[in-house]
Symmetry: D2
Subunit: 421 residues, 4 copies
């Protein structure tokens, strides 16, 4: 990775960055510089202004950041009158000129501002952080929400899947990347460098992350994979310190047991589906013995839903827990008709199927509290996912293995009966 | 470079590319698939549709390409009525929802189409070629010109300067990159691999190119540099096979003697200014002996203008040729008030100054014909360029060395007198 | 490759190399410096002396080089009396001290000289060239032959197979490596860069070379490979400009059609066997469709031998040519009992078998002259080569396909009869 | 680094390693295979034998390892009678043949054995470990000491300075390299990954290591450097968690505060001098503000020597401690006439000078015990080191700054007086 970083951090950057603080802009306010940047005629002075804005913004406190956002949201918005005029002119006489005038009018100046900020080397990372601030500070203000839509619009273009790079993460990866893996792991916390090594170094473990070429030191999302014989029934067994390591050749199953998004500023721009499918494709090419690609996933809203519908559970009865979980995954829906469970929604939306449920599978405090310790396995049968995905998108039907369907039956019957009664 | 290529060509690509041709889309027409892609709910089937569109398009003849462009230009345009409705709703009640609805309405679906096409690995290169086709085929059709604005809008975002990577090109560069340098050299043609080696291998020669991470095998623009003692007076001397090579440490001058754009599909997206300035910064950091950064540039419209204004010239009188060229660079303007000469326009717009003119400096047929063999040197004094650039943008005043101003004087006086008479 | 070069050319080198010429050694003769280097107590002054010796040597004419070799061959030889004394002391009282004294006495000082010369970065390349000079100049002088044994002894250690790196050579390889491929191709000359591209770029062509980490810009040996359906019968067909390219997946055969050693200074240090076997292993891992690994080889001494034994041939009778070639490969022996043909000796020694003979297979002037246009294919069946190799080493029996044995029969009978008569 | 590793671990290796365990050699003893390897005629079967020996050896217990060493030390020794015969033949008739026969006879077969073991990819690392075992097990046995001389002879050739690669170690280096830095740090222990980061990540810290291309995952030696304003007076201040970081540009001094050898199996093959000088050259090229290159070194034998000569010390009197240390460094000699202190011996031998002594400079238990908390700074003035080195080699005179000489005076006078009395 450091090589890619190397490629991408040009000498230009190193030199200009250093000189920036002494720039003549010291006596202009941030909003003045920002306005100047949007109006800037010059590429080079534009670079300097952009650099100064990014540098100054990073040092602001929250209330000043809010003011900055408010300023660009309100002063660099579209002008409806101008849009209307340009639109009418275009309708009257469609041409390159009239279309261009409309495009310019219909796009708020703040989009051009964000693009110009991004012309400085390394800016993308700062803009992603800026949007994280915006999401944190702007939640309730509708004018900031509109600004966020502009950020998101540009990020969708910049973080296009065609631009992403999948890289394996291993114990041979640079330490400054690995410490981010420790920090960003959101599912099963990594306690220490020794813990990290146990997840990366053994021959039956893999990890992959997506990177963007313009921020090569920042993983966007990563997935941890265990290579196993058969589908494991609990995360404790998977992560046990004294477990027996197998060679990658012996494995027939790849288990995606943790997927973590890394950048708060990229919220709403989804990478998970691509990641799982690229990793599945890579692993099946590398290890011909693998024929099952499956997750070991939390069921984060199970107990919440059980309470809502008034079903009780007892974690000491594993068979009953599995039946409840199976029923929930097959039948619990949100108002929109999609699965109630967010993780289920994600995997089914990707074209995966509900393959198995496990009791006593996540005995951490979080696991017990949110799902009574149950977990689910979603199966990624790559050639089948497209069909599944389209079916699901059209019909919202949950496809599950017969095992899961059989497990769910008693509860489903019971609920049906109860409802009927 | 092959390493960057390596990083960026994921296994995913290699696998999916191969399978594409056998896809089930065989019985759907290109426009049907294109429509399906814009409407596609699914990321994965979207990838396959996108791949198929790119593959099929590349094999079309010109008339079919024209039809394809016409189809997306007309059927995926904005709907003015929908824009107006959304705009009014937003004016009535500005909110995240109403702003989003406006944004969606104001952007033609073909922009989303191009973005989705770009989600396939390696797609960017194909889209750049697609726009080259569009520019070639669409010149006269206003609806295609509007489509080109959409391409250009997205390319401006994707080819943001912050995303570009400056790489030295040397005799140790990969042959498949070098053959593109041979092919794309637009100023002083490279005849053979031996000729190329003479431009790259000597210790007093450099070459740099901009690349984009998503098309690492395709230079976007490159500049050839000679390191010299003093400013050379002709391109013949610079490129002579039997010239004496000096060591880079001995040089006090870096001469940019050829700048070539490589991608017809990136027309209108300008990289030259950034390139020259980054290379200047890099070279001055690497070689502390360099204190002059200067071009040796053609004066492509000199004879054309001389004819227009009725001045005669005689290439056997070098002093007179220099005077004419100096006068032209200082005084010849287009209707917009900018310099008549496109090369002068470019360098003065970047903040360079007219530093010297040379007679008998380009004795090639092209050089004789367009400028009677004269050439110009523009000076890049980096700290001064920002001020120059802003002055020029505001006042359009041509800054030149006193030498050039003195050279121009007799002609200027003569012309003034003649005009007066 | 440039990256490896990069890694290995430390800043140290770049700096010290430049300062070398101005060193204070200017007034000492080359032999004085050489003597000083062997006696040098200091690592750093040693580096400077070594650098100076290498630099000065490279600029010498042949007669001075001869003198230099003569000097170190004679003045830095073993001292038999000292060896004998140390040996007796060791026999009397074997100990670390006495063994060390013997080792020092038994090794000529010139070996230590060569090792010290090699302590300068990049020295290895210069030492390889130095030995090439030695072989060229020293052929007839026994004292220089002994010196060559010392070079060879050290080179065998330095160019140990465990230190070599196999690298694919492709059209994406650096131009300065590719021009060496053009220069070193010894079997079927490469005429131009276009010719080179035809051997590297098509999907059904491969090339691999061995490199040593301390001279990463210099291939040691390379092999060109064609991927084909079935074994090709002539080199003309293989290299035809208008041939049909196939995809690598379609091929069932890998044909090694040219193997070239690159470094005259590494004569006698054999890399070919390792190269073929590593490439065979790599290709069979990459392309599962390959099941035949075979050469298309010249038969360089066929006509020479036919003349010696008084057999006549007619190139217009292909069947007869094949029979003669088959008979020759199976039966023609040198005095040592090994195959008369050097290429056959090489491949059979590696454990390959004679698989096929082809008439009209190399219609170049060289091909016609040395073998009447015939060529041979040797088969590398990797698991079988060890057994074959050991058999051959013990029994010198030539293993051939039944087809080749059948082809040879008429001639063998004829010769036997003639001999008997 | 992983890239270099990548380059050097060929597919060949990966494939052959896996197959090794099932080889037919299962029924031959280790000594039988070892004998077979030395006699092996075949390159390929040789590779397999070599791999098997390395694999089996690594799994042996100490007594079996001892037996293995004993076997090759005794059974593959030189045969004095054969040496004598060959020597006499060579004396009688010097020729390539007779010289070759002598060379073969004078070199014990175990050297050829070690070379053949090294022909397997990755073997070098195993051989370095093998020698570490030999040094550990063989200390007292003279026949094993002779064997060690053979290892060392070959390692000196293989680990020639011209083959080494200097690499910066940073927080961006691969974790598997960094964990070795933690493990090998021999001077000031690194307690944790956080501690390591404090030594690598700040802008005023550097670390460099030598690597060998054939064992790219194993640093051979590394040095830790602090960039400071002025020479620091204690290691506590240098490593304080709450110290103020400066930018590299502000520093005028580079302090080498820890140098650690990493490979027990490379004992006696010295890299430290080269390392310090290459790092000095690199840093002075990178940071023009640096003009002092100095160590902060322990004085490991100070208290030991003070006791020997009957001087007493009191760590509460820093001035007295500095005087004692200065006197010791200038005057304390071993029987050979070299400095008594091993660290002083090393740096003075490299051409450095004694620049300063510091009291209360290493307050760790080890520091207090071995030197009463004092430390020394040795100055590396690169252009001066060659002269210093040669002087020291000839005269053993200790060059010190006037400050140190002045400091030493009172003690020196006192000692002289006492001795005189």
């Amino acid at each position: 990775m450091s090589l890619l970083a190397d490629l991408l951090s040009t000498v230009f950057e190193r030199r200009y960055r250093r000189e920036t603080p002494e720039m003549v802009e010291g006596d202009r306010s941030l909003t003045e510089i920002t306005t100047a940047l949007v109006g800037s005629m010059g590429e080079v002075s534009g670079l300097m202004l952009a650099q100064e804005i990014l540098t100054r913004f990073a040092e602001l406190g929250d209330s000043e950041k809010y003011e900055f956002f408010h300023y660009i949201a309100s002063s660099m918005n579209i002008d409806p009158e101008a849009v209307r005029t340009a639109l009418e002119e275009y309708e009257r006489k469609p041409s390159k000129v009239s279309y261009h005038a409309f495009v310019v009018a219909a796009e708020p100046a703040r989009q051009e501002l964000i693009r110009r900020l991004n012309s400085v080397p390394n800016a993308t990372k700062y803009l992603v952080k800026m949007r994280a601030d915006l999401l944190r500070l702007g939640g309730k203000y509708s004018e900031l929400q509109a600004l966020d839509l502009d950020f998101r619009h540009l990020f969708t273009s910049w973080f296009n899947h065609g631009f992403l790079v999948l890289r394996p993460i291993s114990w041979e990866s640079p330490a400054h990347i690995l410490e981010k893996i420790i920090a960003y792991e959101a599912v099963h916390a990594i306690d220490s460098w020794d813990d990290l090594r146990r997840r990366l170094e053994p021959t039956d473990r893999r990890c992959f992350a997506f990177f963007h070429p313009s921020m090569p030191d920042e993983p966007l999302i990563f997935v941890e994979v265990a290579l196993t014989k058969g589908i494991p029934r609990s995360v404790q067994a998977l992560l046990a310190e004294d477990r027996n390591t197998i060679s990658a050749d012996e494995a027939n199953t790849a288990v995606f047991y943790s997927i973590s998004n890394c950048q708060a500023g990229l919220a709403g721009i989804s990478f998970g589906n691509s990641l799982i499918k690229q990793v599945t494709a890579d692993l099946s090419a590398e290890l011909s013995g693998l024929d099952i690609f499956v997750t070991l996933s939390p069921i984060p809203s199970l107990t919440k839903w059980l309470k809502q519908v008034g079903l009780t559970w007892n974690t000491d009865e594993p068979d009953n827990m599995k039946a409840l979980a199976a029923h929930y995954l097959l039948n619990a829906k949100s108002r929109s008709g999609l699965p109630f469970d967010p993780v289920a929604r994600f995997h089914l939306g990707n074209g995966a199927t509900v393959h198995a449920v496990h009791a006593d599978a996540d005995l951490s405090e979080k696991g017990r509290s949110q799902s009574g310790g149950t977990m689910a396995s979603y199966l990624y049968d790559l050639p089948q996912t497209i069909q599944n995905h389209e079916n699901f998108a059209n019909t919202r039907e949950v496809v599950a293995s017969s095992e899961v369907r059989t497990l769910a039956k008693p509860i489903t019957l019971f609920v049906a009966k109860k409802t009927h009664d």
